[in-house]
Symmetry: D2
Subunit: 360 residues, 4 copies
Amino acid sequence: MVVVMSTDVTEAEITEVVDVVRAVGGDAFVSRGVSRTIIGLVGDVAAFGMLNLHNRSGVAEVVRISVPYKLVSRENHPERSVVEVGGVPIGPDHLVLIAGPCAVETPEQTLAAALMAKSAGARLLRGGAFKPRTSPYAFQGLGEAGLRILADVRAETGMPVVTEVIDPESVELVASYADMLQVGTRNMQNFALLQAVGAARKPVLLKRGMSATIEEWLMAAEYIAQRGNLDIVLCERGIRTFERAVRNTLDISAVPIAQRLSHLPVIVDPSHSGGRRDLVLPLSRAAIAAGADGLIIDVHPEPGIALCDGDQALVDADLEELGVVTRDLAALMGRTPASATGRTAAEAAERVPEAAKSPT
Amino acid sequence: MVVVMSTDVTEAEITEVVDVVRAVGGDAFVSRGVSRTIIGLVGDVAAFGMLNLHNRSGVAEVVRISVPYKLVSRENHPERSVVEVGGVPIGPDHLVLIAGPCAVETPEQTLAAALMAKSAGARLLRGGAFKPRTSPYAFQGLGEAGLRILADVRAETGMPVVTEVIDPESVELVASYADMLQVGTRNMQNFALLQAVGAARKPVLLKRGMSATIEEWLMAAEYIAQRGNLDIVLCERGIRTFERAVRNTLDISAVPIAQRLSHLPVIVDPSHSGGRRDLVLPLSRAAIAAGADGLIIDVHPEPGIALCDGDQALVDADLEELGVVTRDLAALMGRTPASATGRTAAEAAERVPEAAKSPT
Amino acid sequence: MVVVMSTDVTEAEITEVVDVVRAVGGDAFVSRGVSRTIIGLVGDVAAFGMLNLHNRSGVAEVVRISVPYKLVSRENHPERSVVEVGGVPIGPDHLVLIAGPCAVETPEQTLAAALMAKSAGARLLRGGAFKPRTSPYAFQGLGEAGLRILADVRAETGMPVVTEVIDPESVELVASYADMLQVGTRNMQNFALLQAVGAARKPVLLKRGMSATIEEWLMAAEYIAQRGNLDIVLCERGIRTFERAVRNTLDISAVPIAQRLSHLPVIVDPSHSGGRRDLVLPLSRAAIAAGADGLIIDVHPEPGIALCDGDQALVDADLEELGVVTRDLAALMGRTPASATGRTAAEAAERVPEAAKSPT
Amino acid sequence: MVVVMSTDVTEAEITEVVDVVRAVGGDAFVSRGVSRTIIGLVGDVAAFGMLNLHNRSGVAEVVRISVPYKLVSRENHPERSVVEVGGVPIGPDHLVLIAGPCAVETPEQTLAAALMAKSAGARLLRGGAFKPRTSPYAFQGLGEAGLRILADVRAETGMPVVTEVIDPESVELVASYADMLQVGTRNMQNFALLQAVGAARKPVLLKRGMSATIEEWLMAAEYIAQRGNLDIVLCERGIRTFERAVRNTLDISAVPIAQRLSHLPVIVDPSHSGGRRDLVLPLSRAAIAAGADGLIIDVHPEPGIALCDGDQALVDADLEELGVVTRDLAALMGRTPASATGRTAAEAAERVPEAAKSPT
C-alpha cells in the first residue's frame, strides 16, 4: 500500500500515519519528494484496511498494490485448485458440463432433462427447487419437494446434484440433499448466506453478481473461504450493461482474469448470460476457448411450457451439438471432458446422502 | 399485454395461446393483419406472467402494457402514501431528514452524532449495528451491542431509530430495538429478507439495488407489501455506472419516476451516492428540488477516525448548512421540514419499545 | 505522478525510468521500501504522458496525482469563468435559460417556439439546423435554410442563437450565422471537429459524450482550448446506463464535480437527459439546486407533430412553470436569472452577424 | 409496427393515426380490444419512423417489430457477405488475421511489426497514421508521412493496408494510400465521416462505438451503405461497463447477434477490448470460437517503447501462439485461415494503388 499525502501535509500528520500503521503491526517508510510525501506500507493489508487511512487528515490518496483477499488469491496459492463434486473433478485438467432444468417442475420433467443432459455429456445435474424471482408473482420453486425429486433423479442417473440455496436458514436442508450448493447472482453479497455456506462442508458454486466487479466477486468467495470452506467454484453468468439485445452481457474476459487472480476453478453459464437459446452454443464455444473449467447449461424437454426461463433452454439438436462442441474444443484446449472419466449410475447412487433417499 | 405472433404462425398456435390465457381466467382478442397476427390480453397480468407466453411456439414477442406490480403501484392507489416512523411522518407534505453515523462505534460517538444531526433538523436517527461489508476483513458492526447503544441514544434524544437488518434470522431482534428496518442495497433482491421484513410490522426503508432498474426496485417493494406491510419508504442511493469520479451515480430521475409509478414515499441518500463529503450538499439540494420526500445523511463527530465511510460524513459547517438548505428548499417545494412539527425528547422516550430499554 | 516498480525490478530499470523522465525536463525521486521501490515524478504531466511509462519493463503501476488537462483546469485558474454569448453572460452569478425547438422545421414553428421560450425567461435560442440522427432515415435537419430561419428569428426576437455543428467543414458556415456553436454528445470525441471549433472564435457549448467520463469531457474541452478558444460552456445531458425508464440517466453529480475540476461554466440539458416531458421540470429544479449555471430546454409549439424528439418538448403550462421555477430557485441559489438583465430585441438585432441577415 | 393507443383514446385520434400512415403509403389495421385499441402498420418502416407516431395524442406506445435498417440487414439479404480487401476475402468461409502496430512510428518499426504479423499468419496490415487520442497531449500520429510508410511496407511485404480515417476531409487522402478505411470507436456516430467513407469506394472497417448498442452499430453501417458502399466489415472492440479490471468489456455475444441481424462480416479486436497483453490470446480464442470472421491485433517489435497502447501489443512467443491458435481453431470452426490461400508479396505489390507508390 502506498499512502500519498496532500501537498500541505504537516509533520504531525505524517507521524500519525506511521504510528497507526505500526500500532497494527505494520511498517511504514516515508519518502519525501519536492512537492509530495509518500508513505509505503509493509504488512497485513487487511489490518491496514481497518485503519481507514483515506479518512485521515493529510492523506490525499491511498493506492492499494496487493489484492484485498488472501485465501482465494493465486498470489498465495499459485497452483490452480480442483474441486470435487460427488466424485466429479472441476479444475484445470477437465472440462465439466453441468446441465439440467432451470426449475424442477415434476419428477418426469426433471428425469427427462437429466437424461438429455447426461447423453450430451453432462456429469452433474443442475435444477432449482428454491427460485429467487424478481417478481413475487412468478413461480418460486417446489421447495423441499423439488429437492426430493432431484435426489430421486440422482439415484436414477448417477448424476450428483447442484442446486441453489437462497437463505441461511435453509442451508442445512438443501445441503442434506445436494452435492453442491449454488449461490445465485442476486445473493453474491448476501453475506449471511455466504457465511452459512462457508460452514456447510459442501462445495459451493458462487455466481458472480450481475453488477459485481471481479474483485468484489473474489471478496465474496473470501467470505466463504474464511469459514473454512475452500471448495468454491466461481461462475461467470453475464453482467448488466446498456446493451438490450441480451439479458446480460457475458463478460468473457472475466474467465482468464479470475483464473489469474484466484486459484479457484471458473465456469461459465451461457444460458443465463444471453437469455436466448440461439446464443447458448456460440457462448459455450467462446467460454471453453477462453479457458473456462466448465459450463452450466439449462436444458428442458419442452421449453415451450417451462415455468422458468424456457426461452434459453436447450433441446434436441442444439443439445447434441453442445456435446460435440464440448468434446472437440476440450481436446483442443488440452482438457479431458469430464464425461470421459465417467462413473456409472450405480456407483453414484452409493454416494447419495442419507437425507436425500426420499421415499417418494 | 399484447402478444405478437411470428410471421409463420399456424392457426393451432394462435388457438393455443387463446386457450391458455382463458384457462387462467383472462380473455384474448385476436387481430389478423396482413403480415402479422396480434393477440391482445385482458385480465390478471400476474397470472399471464406465469404462462411464459414468450416461450410458446408461434410467439414472436410479448409486449407488456401494465406494470408488473400491484400493491405498491400508483395506478391502483393514486394518492401518495404517508409512512409514520415513531410518530414522524414521511410523505408528500413533509421533508424528513434522517441522519446519524454510518456505523455505531461507541455510545459517545453515537450520541454526539445524534445531537449534531438533531441540531441540523434531523428527526430520525440512522446508525448501523449490522454492517454488510464487501470485505470480510472490514468492520462488521457491533451487532446487538450496537442496537442497545442506538436505543439509549433514542431515549436521550427522542429520535426514533432507523437501522439495517441483514438477514432474515435477525429481523426479530433488530425489530425489537428499531423504529424502522433498513434493507440495504446489496439485499434489495434478498427475497427471504424482504419477506421477513414484510412480516415484521415495522416500517421498512428499502434501498435501491446498485444495479436494479426502477421496476425491479418496485418489485422488491411488492415482495414486502405482499406480506401485509405497506409501510415502505423507497431510498435512491446511486447506481453503478462507468463513471469513476464517484462511488455511485445518483440517479436523480428515479425520484420523480418512482413517485409517479408508486404511491410510496421516496427519499435520497446523498452520502452513499457520491461517497464524497463535498458532494453531499449539492446532491441534497438536488434531491429536494427533484421532489424527494426526505434525505438520509451520514454524520460523524470525527470523520477522520470513522470505522466506516468517514470520507462522506458531514460535520460542523457543512452540517449546519444542510439544516439551512433543508428548511429553505423545503419551503420553496411546499413542504414542512419534519423538524418544524417537532416532538420533544421526553415525548419520544415514552414511545421506546420495551426490548430497547437496555440497562447499559 | 508516482511510478510503482514491480517487486523484481532491477537497478537498470530504475535508472532507465529516472533517465527518461529527466530527458523530458522532469525530475524523479527514488524511494526504496522493503518490498517496493517507488519513484515520484515532478514536472510536466503532459510530457510524462508521452513516455508511456506503464509500458516500461520493471514498472508495475503508474499513479497519476495531477489532472491530465491544464487550460480548462480550475487548479490553474481558481476563479470560475464567465462566457458571454451575444451579450448574455453564462457563469457563476447568473442562471441562463437557453430554449427553443430541437429541430428547426419552419419559420413559423421556430418563431413560435422562440417567443414561447422568451416569455418563459429564456435569453438564448436553441435550434438545430444540422441534426445528427442515429438513423439515416430520420429527419436530418434543414441545413443552411435552417440557419437562415434562426437568423431571422434572432432578428425578430433579439435572442442570440445556439446551434449545432456536426463536421469540421461546416464550422465556418454555421459560425457565420450562430452566436454559439454546439458540439453534440456523439461528437464529443470528434477531435477534428473540436479543433475546428477551437479555431472558430465563437463560444462553444460542449455536450458530454453519453458514455464519457467527466475526465474525458474535460480533455475534450482541452482540445478546444488548445486552439485558443476558452469560451467553452460544458453541458451535462445524461449518460448511458442500464436503466430503461429514461433515455439517459442525468448525472447530476457531474455538475458540482465539473465545476470543482474546471473553471468553465456547466449547464444541464434536462430534455435530452430524460427524453420525457414529465421529467423536464423535476430535473430542471434539481439541476439548478445542484448549482448548474444554466439550462437548455426543448420547446415546441405543437409537440405532437414535431419532427424530432417531440415527446420531450415543453409547451404551455409546463413551460410557464419552468419560468417560475427558474426565477425562484435562482434567487435561492444567489443567482440572477439571466432574463432579469434583459436586452431588448432591438439591441440584439444590431449585433446580428452579416451573413445571418438573410433576405428570406 | 404496432401502435398501442392509450385507454382514453378518441375515435378522432385513431382515425388520425390511420390517415397519416396511409398518407405515406402504408396501411393500418385497427383492432379494438376491451380496454385497448391497437393499430398494426404494414409498409415502409423508415417512412413510419418519420411520422414520430409516439408523439401523437392518443398514442401510448409504439412497438417496432422489424429492424430499423435495411441495406445491411440479413432479413433482406439472407446470405452472409464476403468483403474483399486487396484480394483477401473476409467472410463466412475464412478467418482473416489483421495485425500491425497501433501507431506507425518509423519505417523500421512498421516493417518489423508487419513481418512479425505476417509470419504469424496475418494477411492484412493494420497501422494508424491518424490517431484519435483522448488527450490533446498524446501522440497524434504521423499523418501523411505515416501513410507513406504503410505504403512502402505494403510494397515490401505484400500485405494490403487497413488504416484509420478520422475526419471527412482526409478521406480522399487516406483512401489514396489504404486498401481499407477504418472508422474508429469514437467516430461510429460521426455521420459526416460515415457518409464520406460511404462515398469512397474502398472497403470500410467499422468499429463499434464503446457505448453503442448493436442496433446503433448497424444503423451506422446503414449510413455507409446508403451512399452505395456495402463493402463493410463490422468490428467488435469492447464496450464500456462498470468493470475496472479491463479497459473495455469484450461483448462476445455481439458476434453471433450481429451476424444474425446483418449479412456483413464481423471481426473482433481483442487488443483494444482488454487493453492488456495477457488477455489477447484468451480473447482471440473466444472470438474465433464464437464465430468471428477474423481478428485485428496490435503487434509491436518493442512494446516497452511504443508510443501508443504498448501494454497490449503482442510480441515473440505470444504472437507465435496466436498463429497456432488461429490455424487450429479456424479448422475446428470449418474455416480456412486466410493465410492458407496466400498471395505472394509480388502479386500484392502489383495491386498497390497509384498514389501509394510514394518515392520515400
